[in-house]
């Protein structure tokens, strides 16, 4: 059973606009969340993370929001750039666990 879900397989956004990628999880014990970016033929690259004690974390153009009551997190990219075109994975982990659980990914295309 998929504990981390990304329900949108793909997203297209115009350059300069905001990209919003969504992720839902089912396990209330998850307390650390991450976003990865993956280009073709490369390994996933860590982008940004958030602990469950926070509801927002920002790093440059990337902001992750966490809504624990809804078991939902989102990644905002502002402004979107063509180089942001990639597959984005969200992941989650329990504080006392060794495993990371990944969503199925969202393919973002930023149109110039």
């Amino acid at each position: 059973d998929q504990q981390v879900k990304q329900n949108s397989p793909s997203l297209s956004v115009q350059e300069g606009r905001i990209s919003i990628l969504n992720c839902d999880y089912t396990n209330s014990m998850f307390d650390y969340f991450l976003w990865y970016k993956k280009y073709p033929a490369e390994g996933p690259t860590f982008l940004i993370s958030i602990s469950s004690i926070k509801d927002k974390n920002e790093d440059g153009r990337f902001t992750v929001f966490l809504n624990k009551s809804a078991k939902h997190l989102s990644l905002h990219i502002v402004p979107s750039q063509p180089g942001d075109s990639a597959v984005y994975f969200c992941a989650a982990r329990r504080e006392t666990g060794n495993q990371f659980y990944f969503g199925t990914g969202t393919s973002l295309t930023v149109i110039p």
């Binding site: 990304q6 390994g43 860590f46 993370s49 602990s51 994975f89 060794n98 495993q99 990371f100």
Partner: protein
């Protein structure tokens, strides 16, 4: 860059043959992981290790075994490869003390004919 290399980067093999993939890290991380990535499934954990000779199964461990005789190397073995094991395999380390983030290697693309 977490100093992770994978070998080989590409491999074509035949059904029924054994295959071993190697993950090597240079930064002495305790935790290492093997994932497979398939369309529609994202990244799924095969096995992970929490120290030399200490390993545990992930969600898709059937048909795979692992070994870790040295801190720096984590081997993934397909004892008898099947076409369903055609995939891209990623190794990762867990960087403790840095928000427990995972960092990934470049991947191995395996085709089982």
């Amino acid at each position: 860059d977490a100093g992770i290399t994978q070998s080989p980067r590409h491999k074509v093999t035949e059904t029924g043959t054994p295959v071993t993939l190697r993950c090597h890290q240079t930064e002495n991380h305790r935790y290492m992981y093997w994932y497979r990535q398939d369309p529609g499934h994202g990244l799924r954990l095969i096995h992970y290790s929490y120290g030399v000779k200490d390993t545990d199964k992930g969600e898709v461990s059937d048909g795979y075994s692992v070994s870790r005789s040295k801190t720096e190397d984590f081997l993934l073995t397909l004892e008898s490869a099947t076409s369903s094991q055609t995939s891209v395999y990623f190794c990762a380390i867990r960087a403790q003390g840095q928000g427990e983030t995972q960092y990934f290697g470049p991947g191995t693309r395996l085709l089982v004919l």
